[in-house]
Symmetry: C2
Subunit: 336 residues, 2 copies
DNA sequence: CTTTAATCTGCAACCGGTTGCAGGCCGGTC
DNA sequence: GACCGGCCTGCAACCGGTTGCAGATTAAAG
């Protein structure tokens, strides 16, 4: 539509008095074409600011140059777990951009496994990116059965045979805990994630490592599990305060829970960070914009997105399966 | 790849002993095909859980069944303006899903206008969705020049000739202000957006309307402008407190600014909401998770996303240009 | 029993690119 | 002058669908 008259390589071919194939080769920088001819053709294309029809090209090449970002659409709208996903999605987008790939959003419904076929077998996408989820195993199995390249943000697990990229949870745990030790806290608690969660396990291991390195004892009473949601941050903190009233610091495995924890601490009449210091994890937007900006462990989202993009594309092209760990850093704000 | 042997309609055609075209028609529910044949073919397709190659279909039909969500990638990563965009994107995704359209992320670089051609002329997408931006005009002009259907989240402006969907900013302003009046506040201030911003203007008009309806005077000293960023929330509130120390309520045009405002209020020794009640706007995640959950005006993101999807697709198919206003609601939390 | 129409199916062209292969043109060599 | 090889270019098939049109079949009408 519009006023454009030069829409296909055939149009260009006519203008240049060559064949369609020559134009195709010229625009693809094939070495078969005489440099002069090539430049002439390119100039014509440029002049009419020609844009090749990518779907057609992709059909020919039997690829889509598109990857699907799988979102587990919660019926109830958003959870903050998604917030991290959303932030990383943007980073993936720019990462793919430079590789010539596009990012397609895939909305999968709760108990619907058809999305994989829908998008892969139909040639819509060449591979998938997903956030680690409880269902990770199932999906990963599904995808590898159909030979679909995919990459997961999360800790690699033996059952999952696709690429992974994950933050350095162990170092993150250490950084957070060491910070609390450094600022002179004596009773440092740990508010973790679900038991089965590998990331949380590593963060916990980091906590324990830092404690041991500092010659501290690891007391079970100083450790509780949460589930990353606000409520569990509150109840978890409640328990910690009851078991150990003189706790003076807590490393919380997620920013949202940290917010819950801070609320409970303040309600109990204690001040943050004076009485109890709090370190979160993830550096979500809410950590910055919180009333009391939260000291937290930042996952390098830009780099992670880029790596997710690069490694997935690599895997699509070569079949190589990679696992990467991305460094994290501590961001000191007001809460500790 | 994989074990699948039935990949194309031609394969199905062989199995069913019919021609390729018959299969195509059958799977598309063409009325030309004998119901019996149709069912037989569908059964075969089902049995081999066949997935049609969509790029090929789309090439044939000269459409992509994909729309691009244009994100203005800030060099510096994320702004909270994006947060709203991200939340709505997900809603758009599900809205498009039921219409059989896909959502593609488009990352446009700061001063690069080629994205429009890149994606539209190349047949990658059939239309665009964008958040209102300062550059709205330029982009909108670009898009209409190339006859590309698009829809914008934002207040319709004469220069922009594409579809729009926007929250009911006027009612939002009224709701927020009436709430503050209802809870008995005497000196209600308004912390607005940038002057040129139409949404902010309407919210302000809502504020003024509610004030007048309640028989209140509109005092310039009670009104300042912000720019939606945290810092401007702080400085704006600072000014208000200086000009009118006995201000006891403020309607802030954005949640992020509201957080800044709350901080300044508390720092000044006043309590929220006892001394100064605060109502925000947008109901971002940070409003819920804020240490002091914010009373705010919620844009119906789910509905908005759906409408953006529906109206854009309608516009792609028929060329109709629509403008929609989506109702908003007041969410009362702790800050007012 | 023919004519006509309605119903169904297949052929082949087409969407806009890519690519294997054949062939034209050129200069160099024997 | 004939032969050979390298460098370009074009033909035509192909990717996997859609669709206009023609033709076959059958039923209904005359």
């Amino acid at each position: 539509m519009g006023t454009k008259t030069v829409k296909t390589i055939e149009d260009i071919a006519k203008l240049a008095n060559v064949s369609k194939s020559t134009v195709s080769r010229a625009l693809n920088d094939s070495s078969l074409i005489n440099p002069e001819t090539k430049n002439r053709i390119k100039a014509i294309a440029e002049e009419h600011n020609f844009c090749m029809n990518l779907p057609a090209r992709n059909l020919s090449r039997r690829q889509s140059c598109t990857v699907g970002f799988v979102t587990h659409s919660h019926q109830c709208g958003f959870t903050v777990e998604d917030m991290f996903g959303l932030e990383i999605m943007s980073a993936i987008g720019s990462g793919l951009d430079v590789l010539g790939y596009d990012l397609l959003l895939i909305h999968m419904k709760p108990r619907d496994n058809s999305w994989a076929h829908q998008y892969f077998d139909s040639g819509r996408v060449d591979g998938f990116i997903m956030m680690k989820t409880g269902r990770g195993h199932a999906y990963s199995k599904l995808l590898s059965e159909m030979n679909a390249p995919f990459i997961i943000w999360g800790v690699p697990e033996p059952e999952i045979n696709g690429c992974t990229v994950t933050g350095d949870n162990l170092s993150g745990g250490i950084l957070a805990t060491e910070h609390l030790i450094r600022i002179g806290r004596k009773k440092i608690a740990f508010l973790g994630g679900p038991e089965y969660d590998l990331e949380a396990q590593l963060r916990q291991k980091g906590y324990e490592t830092a404690m041991r390195n500092a010659g501290r004892k690891i007391e079970p009473d100083l450790m509780v599990n949460g589930d990353y949601y606000l409520e569990s941050g509150k109840t978890g903190m409640q328990q910690l305060l009851e078991k150990t009233p003189d706790v003076d610091a807590v490393f919380v495995c997620g920013d949202v829970m940290a917010i819950g924890a801070i609320e409970v601490i303040q309600k109990s009449g204690r001040r943050v960070p004076e009485d109890v210091a709090v370190v979160g994890y993830d550096d979500l937007a809410i950590a910055t914009y919180n009333n009391l900006p939260i000291t937290t462990v930042r996952q390098n989202i830009q780099m992670s997105g880029k790596l997710l993009a690069q490694n997935l594309v690599q895997s699509i092209k070569t079949g190589v399966v990679t696992h990467v760990t991305v460094p994290v850093e501590l961001v000191v704000r007001k809460s500790a």
